[in-house]
């Protein structure tokens, strides 16, 4: 069980690579510029939502990047829940 932290809104190539390595029980957390992917109008959001993994975004970054409202299928998290998420997944990968 891996927590995939995505820290870039650099385009679909990176997201395709992340999805290719995503395994059952993994989760994805949008950090930094990737928070922007949580807007309902983002063309890459649908790809990230497909599949049965959970998709989260750091609430600080949703605010920072002015993503309001964010798509309701993305769960906003504070740092306390980020820690819980990290504790619940044995490993973390950072994509940027």
């Amino acid at each position: 069980m891996t927590l995939h932290c995505l820290n870039s809104d650099a385009g679909s190539d990176l997201i395709e690579r992340l999805l290719g390595w995503l395994d059952a029980g993994d989760a994805v957390l949008l950090l930094g510029p990737a928070a922007n992917v949580a807007r309902s109008t983002h063309p890459a959001l649908a790809k990230l939502l497909a599949g049965d993994h959970r998709l989260y975004a750091l609430d600080d970054d949703l605010i920072r990047y002015g993503v309001s409202p964010h798509d309701h299928r993305v769960e906003a998290l504070g740092y306390d829940a980020f820690v819980e998420l990290a504790a619940a997944h044995r490993k973390q990968l950072l994509w940027r």
């Binding site: 820290n7 870039s8 809104d9 650099a10 385009g11 930094g32 510029p33 922007n36 992917v37 807007r39 309902s40 109008t41 983002h42 063309p43 959001l45 600080d60 605010i63 920072r64 990047y65 002015g66 993503v67 309001s68």
Partner: protein, 119 residues
């Protein structure tokens, strides 16, 4: 040399300091009465988003800085329309003095500039 200097802002805001350095340069060019042009493209367009609230810290919002540009005689900011689409941003979210450009219009902006500075 004909034309005005163009500051091209294409780095991710709030991830590294390059976008902020570019905006500093833009404001210095304006303060020295160079009448700079500015073009946002790529992930740089994220700097244009307005925050609904401020994160709990004294972190400056780039959009607020950008909103102040007309006070420095930067009357228009240019935005690559294709980049807005890539990042899912609608024109309504941009400052009122932002103008979206298609590729042909970007080319003529680039061709008309005296110099380009790339951030």
């Amino acid at each position: 040399m004909a034309g005005k200097p163009l500051i091209w802002l294409t780095s991710a805001p709030y991830a590294g300091a390059r976008m902020r350095a570019g905006i500093d340069t833009l404001m210095a060019f304006a303060a020295f009465a160079q009448h700079p042009e500015v073009l946002f493209s790529g992930v740089g367009v994220l700097a244009l988003l307005r925050r609904q609230a401020e994160p709990d810290r004294r972190e400056p919002s780039l959009r607020k800085l950008i909103d102040s540009l007309p006070l420095y005689d930067v009357e228009t900011i240019w935005v690559d329309a294709a980049s807005l689409e890539t990042h899912g941003i609608t024109r309504e979210e941009l400052p009122a003095f932002a103008q979206c450009l298609d590729a042909a219009a970007v080319k003529s902006l680039l061709n008309g500039a005296s110099h380009l500075l790339c951030y």
